[in-house]
Amino acid sequence: MEPHILVIDDEPQILRALRTILTAKQFRVTTASRGGEGLTLAAAQQPDLVILDLSLPDMDGVVVCERLREWTQVPIIVLSVRDGERDKVTALDKGADDYLTKPFGIEELLARIRVALKHSAQAQGAPNPVILAGPITIDLARHVVTRDGEEVKLTATEFKLVAYLAGHADRVLTHQAILNNVWGSADIDHTEYLRVYIGQLRKKLEANPDQPRYLLTEPGVGYRLLTDV
């Protein structure tokens, strides 16, 4: 059965476009134009993925996000015209899995949908101890990272960082979340640690550290490890 996507957005043009495109891509699509309606539909139909706008007429999208997280781990992709860092960080902290700023390219959205669906399918099975990202393999159980089959020597912190990213592969992780998990809550404002260690990781793992393909920066928000889908 094709995956079921619930789109919550108050702009009819966006709803129409997404319904057409997603249906053509073999998804089953339900739409809601208000937050309350979206929550009811989510509870009644148990969709496989939610696409959520932040500006809704009856409530803030962030609240919808929080309410959904009270009872479900369904992947949530936020679509919003708000491009301030704070809005993105708030939405991600409140449980959104991903964030796309309007206007967005449809290829980008489809890629994010694929990734989110894959991870929610995996989450239901056993956790995968080996993460693959192009030439990079990250073996969380054995604490080994290889590139093109060769083991890469990482410092303890570097491994902790790449392991955290790999453990939440393909999801946007905020600076605060990474710092909190890798360095501890006292250091959540020290983004400079992240810049330096991500730089070191890219040098060791990426073919061209200046144009990373796997350890991606989410401008102003955080980082994401792109894995093979």
Binding site: D83, E85, P103, T155, T191, E192, R195, G199, G220
Partner: protein, 475 residues
Amino acid sequence: MIGPYVFAAAAVALVTGLLWLFRASFSIQVIALIYLLPVVLSARLWGLGPGILGALGAFLCLNYFFLPPYLSFSVSEPQNLVALIVFLVIAVVISQLLGQDMQNLASVTAREREATELYELSVALTGLLDQQSITQILAKKICETFFADKVEVVVNGVPQAVSHACNDDNKLLPPKPDLVAGLASVRGQSGKVHVWRQKVPLSESEKKLLSTFTSQGALALERAGLMQNENRAQVLEESDRLKSALLSSVSHELRTPLSTIKASISSLRSQAISLDPEARRDLEAAIEEETDHLNQLVGNLLDMSRIETGSLKPQRRWNTLAEIAAGVVKKMGQAVQRHRIILDIPASFPLVPVDYVLMEQVFVNLISNSVKYAPPETDVTIRARLQGDQDALVQVINQGPHVPEEYLERIFDKFYRVTAADKITGTGLGLSICKGIIEAHGGRIWAENAPGCFIFNFTLPLTWEGALPQVPKEE
């Protein structure tokens, strides 16, 4: 006020005592002469009143102690009576002359002091244009000049400034001031000056001086109000001018990509036009490119309004310039395809404390400006170097045409464009936004013509609140 009279009486008594001891040695004429001393002294030192008192006292003592019959006010010899009266007249006249002189001197000194105080006040008020500092200076000067305990300046019922005496011993003052002076002003600003002075009430001349002070203050306030209104009018006019410039620029600028999109879409949908696959792809690419362009334009407009309203506050974090620049180049995609973008940022380049999203905007605007004017297939280089140990110098170098020297600064002004608007599209907003963002980061931006190329330069501080980034080392 009693003091001088007591001193005068004491001087006469002292002279009387001394003379009584040596009364055998002096003739009556010498004694009378000596009595003039305390009189002259009193008049000179303490003024007219004590002088007259001294003269009368000397007259009585001379009569009582030294003119026969002694220890009596009666005078036996007529010539002594004449001498005594002459003495009195001389003593009184001398006192008067000296006393008046003293008074004149005192009033001249007082007037001089008033003039000085007033001059100091007007100097202090000159050039002040805001109500707060004017009232503050006024309160302070009044407090100093009148030795007041406390002075409060109230404008339109709101206390604006308070000044306490410098030797304030924290004594409790009554809520009601000892004196209220109006702060007269022509244009409806009703102000008041409240003065507390517990020791001595203000004299008439002090009140007069105070009213001169307050009218000076009122004039200054009036001037400030007028200037403010004029400024506001200027600002309004300027923002009106900007708004209409913005509207005309934006509507032109929005229509250009919209027409491309509309034309492409309608031909793609049209049954009448048959397109080969390559033409379709071109049209589709144009649509996407122009949509991105529109989006960038909207972003610039938002940034502009944030800069205008002063709400642009960089969310600084330690960032790597290379990452920001590379991200921008990747994001700009098709827009930079016709040029070679070269990133020349050393791998060891230090972290800079900047707002990632705003710096992206700076690079987007500088790069899109470069690719707009530089001929296709040329290089656009993004270079970062250290400038001293305090600043990073970032350059965006293109091989575009030079800009006449006299316009180099003006290209960062809003809506300023060197080329005619119909030749190359643009709102004239991009560079002024760069300027706003760089300056909000504490940097500087400028452009220069160099041999064979055109360079945008900007600096960024390497420290954040005076500190460099601290990253813990391991192993």
